[in-house]
């Protein structure tokens, strides 16, 4: 069966520090991968999605970047964190078209607090 891992589970970082959040998927090949940010009362905002190694699409201009160095690994990064980057970050995967008719499966999330 497929599983999705995210780490760390929680992170507290000072403003201006770098960030690296990791997501890995097991049990499937060539998944579509997604990074979302969940803010209270605002639902899930899609940040990045990837249909393959090295292929990243950004949904919104922001202080963050994403990379996919391996088929089942998706990394969310920042060179210098801002206070506004605080939030709950979710990684998800799906097969088939981007979203499409296939369900997205979510990881446990990372709670990031920028002080």
């Amino acid at each position: 069966s497929q599983t999705i891992h995210q780490w760390p589970a929680t992170l507290v970082q000072p403003v201006g520090s770098p960030l690296s959040l990791e997501c890995t998927v097991e049990g499937t090949s060539n998944p579509n991968l997604y990074w979302y940010r969940q803010a209270a009362g605002r639902g899930l905002q899609l940040l990045f999605y990837s249909v393959g190694i090295g292929q990243i699409s950004s949904e919104v201009p922001q202080n963050l970047s994403a990379s996919r160095p391996q088929d089942r690994q998706f990394i969310l990064s920042s060179k210098k964190l801002l206070l506004s980057d605080s939030g709950f970050y979710l990684c998800a995967w799906s097969v088939g078209g981007r979203g499409g008719t296939d369900t997205q499966y979510f990881g446990p999330g990372t709670r990031l607090t920028v002080l």
Binding site: Y36, G41, R42, G43, L44, L46, L90, G97, R98, G99, G100, T101, T103, Q104, Y105, F106, G107, P108, G109
Partner: protein
């Protein structure tokens, strides 16, 4: 870009009460519809989905949702809620390979 609206931000019910959570979307063409649930401290997980066929969809844990195309709606229902249904519920709509989530509805069920 299409939008998804969940009008109820926080719903408080007593056990055994009936539940209906609203979800409306803006895209006028073919859509795929989802409800996700996030229990306290757990992953976001799929509750039910609609792609085609019978517009009344049954999901896990006694939930169901009805797709009404003319109203652009996909409301979630459960005839009798339990304390364990306390969670946050998200509606999601996929149109033209673009998946959008609603802001979520927090459900609190009092024992």
């Amino acid at each position: 870009a299409q939008s998804v609206s969940q009008h109820n931000h926080h719903v408080i019910l007593s056990e055994a009460a009936s539940l209906e959570l609203g979800c409306n979307y803006s895209y006028g063409g073919t859509v795929n519809l989802f409800w996700y649930v996030q229990y306290p401290g757990q992953h976001l997980q799929l509750l039910l989905k609609y792609f085609s066929g019978d517009p009344l969809v049954k999901g896990i844990k006694g939930f169901e949702a009805e797709f009404i195309k003319s109203k652009f709606s996909f409301n979630l229902r459960k005839p009798s809620v339990q304390w364990s249904d306390t969670a946050e519920y998200f509606c999601a709509v996929n149109a033209l390979n673009d998946m959008r989530f609603g802001a979520g509805t927090r459900l609190t069920v009092k024992p």
